[in-house]
């Protein structure tokens, strides 16, 4: 019977921990924030401006984005890591600034954790053409 009580108390403790984890997640997400939408919901928000861009370049850029594992840390249209969404983020940046962010340039070092900074530098292995395609994708894929 002591064993049964030990199990009950342990499971009760686990449930309390689980409920508080749910509470933490709930208060982290305001009901009005668009970021609360699931990836699927955000995917359904696709705009029509994609007709105006070079679809072939966009597709090639997307391939590089996927190949470099950018979605491990970022999301576009709800696909990928929701912690750092890229939708609209590059709208106010010049091509050079986007380039600096993508390749982990010295100029952005202070704005990133050391880990993120080093990970971005992995993009330096890309050729200039590939970087241009990636930047083009970031500018238009939202």
């Amino acid at each position: 019977m002591r064993e049964i009580w030990a199990r009950r108390i342990a499971y009760l403790t686990g449930m309390i921990v689980l409920l508080l984890a749910v509470y933490f997640s709930w208060i982290q997400n305001s009901p009005n924030s668009s970021i609360n939408m699931t990836g699927k919901e955000q995917s359904e928000m696709k705009t029509g401006h994609i007709d105006d861009v070079d679809v072939k370049r966009l597709k090639l850029g997307m391939e590089i984005y996927t190949q470099q594992g950018c979605a491990m840390c970022h999301s576009i249209q709800g696909q990928g890591n929701p912690r750092y969404p890229l939708d609209g983020v590059v709208n106010n940046l010049s091509i050079e600034e986007i380039h600096n962010w993508v390749t982990g340039d010295e100029s952005i070092k202070d704005q990133l954790s050391m880990n993120s900074y080093k990970l971005k530098q992995l993009n330096r292995e890309l050729t200039d053409d590939e970087l241009q395609l990636l930047v083009y994708y970031l500018q238009n894929a939202h």
Binding site: R2, I16, L20, S25, Q28, N36, T38, S75
Partner: protein
């Protein structure tokens, strides 16, 4: 008298401390700059990861054998708690992974360790290690892992899994991207690592400074031996309550993790020696055959709340033992005799064969100076008499039944404390019988072994 109410409060207080330790990372995350939400499931998955990591950290505290923590519960219960919490913590880690796997699959990237970032591989390997740790603990006997090898494996799994999980959290760096939070999380992890160092290095060193010597080996019945130990370097003998047990390291260094829990079987009154009675059951108890006079031993203990001294106001004590389960009860009976305690005592001593009754002669001697009603229950016998008038004990054939217990139950049984020690089926059945006889659960005491 039932357990003091104070102990219940202390137990609840420790549970609150546990919850605070486990939930501390979540509170730390909510201090200062808090990143905006990333969707319920994402944040839920992260919260699960952080709390599971904290739970794994507290696991080290639960098995560190701190007497103040274990006292209100009994260390056996702490170990059970450790087991069930580990199952939940690993379930939370698995859920953390599955949420990401099915809702945000792109974030996992390649599973190939050559392509994936190190911190992602660390997380994956930690999950595998923690899962192996659970499997090897729950089914150790079924997969034929020797106890000593399992313990070593368990420690390696626990420490490596914890370090890899910490590397994963630190590498991913969500929520702890602010230096202050990273620092706090680092301190938190450092505390657990310090605890590991204490358990595995400092505590064995303290034991090493207090060695014991085997001064006598008494051959007992049923393939059992009693080891008599004496301090080897002038230090005081460990103080214990009758009925307690200790982890004993025999013929090995305290750092070698070759310790095993054994019951103390001698009196707790004015002793300069300490005795452990060990039955060779073919597993780690097999070492008893290799012990020689003069061998060195180290004691980590005493532990346990299976003791008459936890309930000093009882009107009497009722003991039920099976096989070598008599060992801690002998410690209690011998202590009561040394204290000239005349309170009424009942002992039901169950064994398979008459020749297997450990301490048969000692019990007869104790009957002379204690107010003891002794009943032997022998499973397989045709030879012995049902009543020995000379020694005034009674013997029954078969198993302990409700009839036997109800016949021996005192009229004022609600004022007695009941101690059960023996194989689990026996303890379970006697518990149920006592429950049927309206004995409150708080008056029935037993220690749970064979957890792994």
């Amino acid at each position: 008298m039932i357990k003091p109410v104070n102990s219940v409060f202390v137990a609840i207080a420790w549970l609150c401390v546990y919850l605070m330790l486990v939930l501390a990372p979540l509170f730390v995350l909510l201090i200062g700059h808090v990143p905006s939400g990333s969707g319920f499931w994402w944040d839920f998955s992260m919260a699960l990861g952080f709390t599971a990591m904290a739970m794994m950290g507290v696991q080290f505290l639960l098995t560190a054998r701190f007497r103040h923590i274990s006292a209100p519960f009994g260390i056996d219960i702490i170990y059970y708690f450790h087991r069930y919490l580990a199952i939940m913590a690993v379930s939370f880690i698995l859920l953390h992974f599955l949420i990401i796997k099915f809702i945000y699959p792109e974030t996992l990237g390649s599973a190939n360790p050559l392509e994936a970032p190190f911190y992602m591989t660390s997380g994956r390997v930690a999950l595998i290690i923690f899962s192996l740790m659970i499997i090897s603990s729950l089914w150790r006997k079924q997969i034929s892992i020797h106890y000593d090898e399992w313990r070593l494996l368990h420690i390696i799994f626990a420490v490596s899994g914890f370090l890899l999980a910490f590397t994963h959290i630190n590498g991913v760096a969500y929520y702890i991207d602010v230096p202050e939070k990273r620092w706090l999380w680092g301190v938190y992890a450092f505390l657990w690592l310090t605890l590991i160092i204490y358990i595995r290095l400092i505590k064995p060193w303290l034991m090493f400074k207090r060695p014991y010597k085997v001064i006598k080996i008494k051959q007992e019945r049923a393939n059992s031996h009693t080891l008599v130990l004496q301090p080897n370097s002038g230090h005081e003998i460990v103080h214990f309550k009758p009925g307690q047990f200790a982890w004993l390291t025999l013929n090995s260094s305290p750092w070698h993790i070759k310790e095993h829990p054994f019951s103390i079987s001698c009196s707790a009154v004015n002793n300069r020696q300490i005795e452990f009675t060990i039955k060779d059951l073919g597993d780690f108890t097999h070492i008893i055959k290799d012990i020689k006079m003069g061998d060195t031993a180290y004691i980590d203990g005493p532990y346990g709340i299976f003791s008459i001294d936890e309930y000093p106001q009882a009107k009497g004590y009722f003991f039920v033992t099976g096989g070598v389960g008599i060992a801690p009860v002998m410690s209690m009976l011998r202590s009561l005799a040394d204290r000239h305690d005349k309170r009424p005592l009942v002992l039901i001593c169950a064994n398979d064969h008459w020749q297997d009754v450990i301490f048969q002669e000692d019990l007869n001697e104790l009957k002379q100076c204690l107010n003891l009603n002794l009943l032997h229950v022998i499973k397989n016998t045709e030879e012995i008499s049902s009543h020995n008038s000379q020694d005034n004990w009674i013997c029954k054939k078969g198993l302990i039944t409700e009839d036997i217990i109800s016949a021996l139950l005192p009229v004022d049984a609600e004022n007695y404390e009941f101690f059960l020690c023996g194989p689990k089926p026996m303890s379970d059945s006697v518990q149920l019988i006592l429950h049927k006889q309206n004995i409150p659960l708080g008056h029935i005491h037993l220690e749970l072994f064979d957890m792994v």
